[in-house]
Symmetry: C2
Subunit: 218 residues, 2 copies
């Protein structure tokens, strides 16, 4: 069981806090808006919630954050508050810090301050939803590197009722089926060459982006 702090109780911050809490960790939630503090307290989403201004280092010092396993800085809109809070957390020397940035410049400033991990929630989700929109058969995807992705998709018609050996996808498209979800619950991981693909199976595929696109377009 670890101890984390989340600063900034917008929707993203609250979701981080709730997920950490649901996994059994201690979560200290911080916001300077009393209503936000009250609502996480009422919903029992966190272990403890405090109303304070995180740009004020004296207020933060009392919390012993450097003893926590990590801090998530989830202030978005107010650039100045985010930067000043990041400065405070770096000066306190917290063990692990992930900070949200709302745009490229915000991210560059945090990175130049050597904030160890900067995330771009809206930008990343925007990219993922655009992917869902462009490739209607893709349910989920993540970029392994600029050329390769892992995607989850409904088995297309042209592969149904045939074995993986017959389909020879690695040779034809440069893609590999790493898992097949059958009937919603069964998951075959690294299925063998005799595995037959059935209608409505979900395929988890790794491949280069071009090969995946090609496979989708047939």
């Amino acid at each position: 069981m670890k101890q984390f702090a989340v600063i900034g109780l917008g929707r993203f911050g609250v979701s981080v806090a709730a997920t950490l809490r649901a996994q059994g960790h201690e979560v200290l939630a911080i916001d300077n808006d009393e209503e936000n503090v009250q609502s996480v307290q009422t919903e029992e989403l966190v272990t403890q919630a405090i109303c304070l201004d995180s740009t004020n280092i004296h207020a933060l010092e009392e919390l012993g954050l450097q003893g926590f396993d990590g801090v998530i800085l989830a202030i978005g809109e107010d650039l100045q508050a985010s930067i000043l809070t990041a400065l405070n957390l770096m000066e306190l020397g917290v063990k692990k810090l992930i900070a949200k940035a709302t745009n490229a410049n915000h991210g560059k400033i945090l990175e130049r301050m050597n904030v160890p991990q900067v995330v771009f929630p809206e930008r990343d989700m925007g990219k993922r939803v655009a992917q869902m929109m462009m490739q209607s058969s893709i349910l989920e995807s993540f970029q392994l590197d600029p050329r390769f992705s892992v995607i989850e998709m409904k088995a297309p018609d042209h592969v149904l009722n045939r074995t993986l050996a017959q389909l020879n996808l690695r040779v034809k498209f440069g893609i590999s089926v790493v898992a097949i979800k059958h009937g919603g619950t069964e998951l075959a991981i690294i299925p063998g060459p005799d595995h037959v693909i059935s209608e409505n199976d979900l395929l988890v595929i790794i491949g280069d982006n071009q090969g995946i696109r090609h496979f989708l377009q047939i």
Copy 2:
């Protein structure tokens, strides 16, 4: 080349629009705030940008959205505007609709209206960042289903300089290495039993959540 519309130019909506445009598609951006419309126009992030109130069906009708390949509804804060716009889009009969919801109730309302795909950007990113925080070695993860995940992580010390056959991870932890990134650029997909794991390799692993946690804790 397809044609999409994005309604609501918050950070998420703008990211969806920009990603679609970067892939070469036509993007019509819609917002009732003139400043937001101006800024996507100035930055040339979209093909066309229009200032109108999407809760007004007459304004929407003129756009021929039912002929578009899809529409993304990205209004978050204003629940009423999101619901009314969703109603309009369903009545116009757009081909593909993905709508953003900001919380569980917002999502339930859209789902009950039979909006085909509802996404929760802040909630989902909150979960992913919580994962990054809890498992410091995990770089990226996605949930295949409630029990299985695909994760990308730095090779832990206890597996270095040994072959996959020697490590026997499937038997010991119930996990499979589906790809190994070496030196930042080389990617071995479904590596063979003689593949040796080197320091700084990134492993892409599929396994059940318990097995992954166990593997990480050694």
